[in-house]
Each structure stands twice: as C-alpha cells, then as structure tokens.
Amino acid sequence: MKLKTEPVDLEKNQSAERWEQQMRKGALEMAALASLWSGQLYGLEIIRRFEDSSQLAVAEGTIYPILARLKSEGLLASEWVEAEAGHPRKYYWLTSAGRTRLQHMAGTWTEFSRELARLIKPVITAQKEKEEEVTK
C-alpha cells in the first residue's frame, strides 16, 4: 500500500515545487531592478543585497543573464570601473525607463498581493487554528 502512495506524494510535491518555482520566477526580474533603486551596484553586491534584505537566495549563474537581458531592454545601464580590489567591477544602474518600469511593476505587485492575501485569508486562519489544536 505504501508503495502505491509514495509516487503520488512525490508527484504532488513536484507539482507544488513547480508552482513555487513559477511564482518566484516572475518576481526575480523585479527584485533585480529593485536592488538598484538606491544606486549603482555590481553583480555580487546585487546577489548579497538579495540575501540580506529578502528570502531570495540567488544562484550566481542566474543573475548575470538577467542583468544582461534587462540591459538589452534599456532598463539598466552599466560601466566597468577600476576598483581598489585590483580588478575592474561592472556596475549597473537603473535608466529612467528602468525606474518607470520598476514603479509600474511595484504597483502591480502590491495590488495583486493585497487581493490575493484577502482571498487566502480563510485558508491561513484555518491553518493557524489547526496548528494551535496540535500544540494543545
């Protein structure tokens, strides 16, 4: 019996994981733009900014192609700067188009998450009640 249920559970987990992946995927571009809102940063600084100020633990190999894409779309600009570290760093900053896009994205995101939070509120409440019952 156990043998029959395991693949189903695995499938369910994979499906939930895929959903989470898809959800986070769309947010990363906005996160990259948002990390540059206050000023210019180079690649590793952007990655560390993600780690410090959010739950976004980003694999290094992911962020650079995204930065390249955003730059090609005219949302970011970049420049190599000689650093004290002994090697040049490629700094990125938001263009005016990038700022406008980010503001639009932030507005859409806020509105969407607020609506969604309202919709799932009963689910969260039920979950909390269940957890409280278990702890009692």
Binding site: R24, K25, G26, L28, A59, T62, I63, Y64
Partner: protein, 204 residues
C-alpha cells in the same frame, strides 16, 4: 581560503568552456560575458569563507550558464526579427521545454508550411501551367500542384491569376505566423529563472 595555482587553472578551464559554449554570439558580447564572470569569481575569492569550488558550483556548469545567455538572446532576437528561420529555431528550442512550446512549434510548421507551399506553387505555375492551379466543380475544391486528374465539369478556374493570388495568400500566412509567434514571445518573454527545491534561483 587562498586559491592555489590549481584553483586558478580550474577557473581558466571554466572560462574557456564558457567561451566555447557561446559560439553564436558576436565576439564583443561573448568577451563581455566572460570578463564579467571572471570578475565575479575573483570578487568571490576575496570574501571570507568563500572558495573557488563553491563559487563555480553556484555558477553552474559553463554549458548551462552559456545556454541561459544564449536562450535569452535567441528569444530577444526572434521577438524583434522577421526571419522565419530564427522563429523556427526558437520554437524548436521551446518545443523541447514543454507542451506549450511544442504546440507553438507545430503552429509555426503548419503556418510556414502552408505559406511556403503556396508561394512555391506560384513560382511553379509558369513552368507547369497545367499542373498548378485551383480546380473547382461539383464537390471539388482543390488547389496546388497536381498531376492532371480532373475532367469536365471540374476545371481550373484561375489561370495565371493563380500566381498573384497564391503569392498574396502565401505571404499572408507567413506574415501571420511570424507576427503571431513574435507577439507570443514578446508577451511571455520568460523561460528564465526558477527556484530549485533548495531555494536557489536557477534558470530552466
């Protein structure tokens, strides 16, 4: 941990593989990517508790890293260009990633197949006037290239008008397919970063 000579050889090897995995790219763009990744690795080595092994692991294999750049670039070019060859390359790449991409690829094949077929028959009409045309009659509506097979009352109705009409309709199909796929690519512009089960954002 201070990198050893062996570690730097490992880095050189990684960058060399990355460069080789980016063949369909202008040299300037390719070198820019390699330079940035090289700077990133050097930057990481200066962090305490970070190692070259760990940095390379988090970058992923050079082939996979290159494919992320290549895929983005291909999608971008296709969403802006009008080349059916480029569109077919992109849809073929998307077909390998899932059912939606496969459906898109089939759509591209059918659209370009019909469009290209009509244009080809328009070109062949002056060479094979009896074999190319639009035949109509009771229960018959047939067009394209055929060995003559109809007799009265079914007959070819367009004559040499077939050429401009087939060219027009053929190009319309090609334009429609290209525009539709470009619209789709611009709208979705994705297949980018994904989170892995361990919480790291990765690209599919």
């Amino acid at each position: 941990m201070n990198p050893t000579q062996e570690h730097w050889l490992q880095v050189d090897n990684y960058l060399s593989k990355l460069r080789k995995s980016l063949p369909h790219m202008p040299v300037e763009d390719r070198e820019e990517i390699v330079r940035e990744i090289s700077a990133h690795i050097r930057e990481c080595t200066q962090e305490p508790h970070n190692s070259i092994d760990n940095t390379l692991k988090r970058l992923g294999s050079p082939e996979r890293l290159a494919s992320r750049y290549g895929h983005d670039r291909l999608m971008r070019r296709a969403s802006r260009g009008f080349s059916p060859v480029l569109i077919l390359r992109v849809t073929l790449a998307l077909a390998r990633r899932g059912a939606e991409g496969f459906a898109l690829f089939l759509g591209a094949l059918v659209g370009y197949g019909m469009g290209g077929g009509l244009v080809l028959t328009a070109i062949l009409k002056p060479i094979f006037p009896r074999n190319v045309g639009l035949w109509m009659g009771p229960g018959v509506f047939d067009f394209g290239f055929h060995v003559p097979r109809y007799s009265d009352p079914v007959h070819e109705v367009l004559g040499h008008w077939y050429i401009p009409i087939a060219l027009g309709v053929g190009y319309f199909f090609i334009w429609l397919t290209t525009s539709g796929i470009r619209w789709y690519l611009r709208r979705t512009r994705q297949r980018g970063p994904l989170f892995t089960g361990r919480g790291l954002v990765q690209t599919v």
